[in-house]
Symmetry: C2
Subunit: 460 residues, 2 copies
Amino acid sequence: MAPEASMRGYDPSAAALLTFHDKVPRFRDGSDTPRAYLERCVAAIEAREREVMAFAYLDLAGARRLADEATTRWRAGRPLSPIDGMPTGIKDLMETHDMPTEYGCELFRGHRPIRDAAPVAALRALGGVIIGKTETVCLGGGDPARTRNPFDLRRTPGGSSSGSAAAIAARMLPLALGTHARGSTIRPASFCGAFGLKPTFGAINRQGVFSMAHSMDHVGVLAGSLEDLWIAAIHIALEAGGDPGHPGLYGGTAVPAQRRPQRLIRLDMAGWAETDAATRAAFEAWLERIASAGIAILSRKDDPAIEAYERELAAMPELWRALYRYEMRWPMLQYLERFPDKLPPRLKQGIAEGQGLTLAEYRAALVRRAHLRGLHEELARRADAFVTLSSPGPGPIGMDQGSAVFNEASSVLGAPALSLPLLASDGAPVGIQMLGPWHGDEQLIAIGRFIAQETLGHRQ
Amino acid sequence: MAPEASMRGYDPSAAALLTFHDKVPRFRDGSDTPRAYLERCVAAIEAREREVMAFAYLDLAGARRLADEATTRWRAGRPLSPIDGMPTGIKDLMETHDMPTEYGCELFRGHRPIRDAAPVAALRALGGVIIGKTETVCLGGGDPARTRNPFDLRRTPGGSSSGSAAAIAARMLPLALGTHARGSTIRPASFCGAFGLKPTFGAINRQGVFSMAHSMDHVGVLAGSLEDLWIAAIHIALEAGGDPGHPGLYGGTAVPAQRRPQRLIRLDMAGWAETDAATRAAFEAWLERIASAGIAILSRKDDPAIEAYERELAAMPELWRALYRYEMRWPMLQYLERFPDKLPPRLKQGIAEGQGLTLAEYRAALVRRAHLRGLHEELARRADAFVTLSSPGPGPIGMDQGSAVFNEASSVLGAPALSLPLLASDGAPVGIQMLGPWHGDEQLIAIGRFIAQETLGHRQ
């Protein structure tokens, strides 16, 4: 362990992220206000933004105005929603009518949309205090992130929702929106010790959000607690709906009560082989702790169906690639042809790999996905949730976004994934990832709350 | 019958629309060329565009350059595709990187995208000669069309693919792209005596195409013959793919051979009640003629399942509305709030109707749609195709787009619909509409070719 990292010595139980909903009683009685809450966020931004670089754009004046309005509403007992006054960051792949939307990309420098993306419009209607646009990598692709990990500035925060996760980690915000087509919500949540939900495919309306691979892209939610995460997610979904043609996020408007699972299925995804020894050890120790609390942990040794599914999961990175490379052809092949100088190198290479792919190959990938979805849904019935790592280790040192090998499965399948900041490895955060069946989002939150309390010793 | 209409006296058998693919042997031997073909289109545009107003934008210089390149390729025996050199119009709801894309809407005056919509990019790759952008109504909504019906200038050409259908009718083009979320391809095809295909939902990639109701919007294809229609549609789909997550258009790359159906199911959709007497009579006479050729026509009298389905179809306009009003809320509620002066009156009224709709109501509509899709698919197995009218009469006099009451079913269901210009009523065109099961597009073309020959006496 590097001396610097050991000095920082990340401890999941001691990490104190910002929470919002627990302040609501004080907003009501006036002993705290959304404006005062915002000022605490601003103080953290002023203290750390220079080194963390979480934001592509900040509108503190606008945020203060919104926070004052929310303060008045809470005082009058008439909040617009339970998240009225909640400071929020918006990943800069989402359109905002009053802030630039540059997609982290030279090609869109100065771009000003005339509208808000659907989840942004929903946040405004709910009283959310949009403080700015969070950093991402060019068009959410695979190039290095500019943002740095607040727990260890040498490390990446992960990507492509880099700024959203880093802002949570640095206590700048209690809530930030991300997207996820490969690992863009779960991976940075893991590296930044944040709670992150990649909901069921289509659960949160993503119209007006840039999407590289439309059949795998999701709006993700990152937060400092599961309570804040769920309350924001469900209210945004009720306001904005899901993707057109989809039923949207299912669940109640309050955070679900903790639920003690009876059985969890441990999945060693494609990423297990590249997981470092310290992270493996942390995961095994955590599993033992959960098992010792009386929860059955099923693995491939217990059920040949689990073994069969794990074998199929090994092919997930390849399947993800087949889908992604084909779907990104539009509009990326045009951008590559006309604006090659405005695209970063990895993105260009990825686009080029999609040239020449055929509809027949894509259809074969869709058929394979349908088969895997069937396996996943069937196996999900045999337990309360799947558990695995969110990443094969902490965010690597350097600006590379790190591996998404644990994240491609849920992107391809469309199944919900939740990252819980429960582990430390090499002195830095690593997430536990829970997966469920389609529309099992609320249950993941309920079980996640139990698991987090069991592990951290305090409620989430 | 008005004296003017009777003078014009539309006769489906005598209508001579432009065809392209039958010229290919002459492109090969040099006795005709794509450039000469284009000049014939230009002559028709010069003769009639002033009164028809089919185009929002024309780029004749660009089209001549493309046609010359295609001429060279055909001469060298190296066409890019079977539609190399085919003059095509693009509905102005589709992005074009080299022409304005104004969506027929004041709000987007002068808008210049940096990319082509997916089907436009495909057309370019196939050698299509994009001659201009065809007129539509503001954002494809329900306001009156500016374009006039070439067969009778007092009548509407229908909408919202108004310019695309009118350009086919006026012999300005052999092919034009439209869209369809309610009746926007089948209705103008009916009023303009054109062939029109609204393919299976997702069959042609519509990324970069403005979509008001994303779970019901389609790229439609309008043409002067079924051969041209199919060859263009299948090559565009193979090049662009379908919508992400969808398998795209199924079928061979050549036009399917004529197929004589054994059984057709006659459907009296929600629109039968508002169909005028002359059009009813024309439809009944046509059905008798088809029946006398030995094809069984099944109706609700023959099968209680047909009667049950017709009862359900009566609710289709209401279901369409529930889906459409909810889905258009994004981004339309924002446009209504911020740019009310730039939206026309019917569109504004429609947007306002969506205010206050809930996710719960939308979910109920999705469930109802799933049920109707099941009924449709099951009933489709009992015959070779469904037949009905494309519209409850010819395009009405005035600029109102006319009724879409025969078109909402296929928009809601996502099932393929084909309009054949086989009837005249009140001296103006009316289409016969054929519907099939999901992915039955190619079979509709094969049966449509037989039916058209049987009715018109010549091949299509």
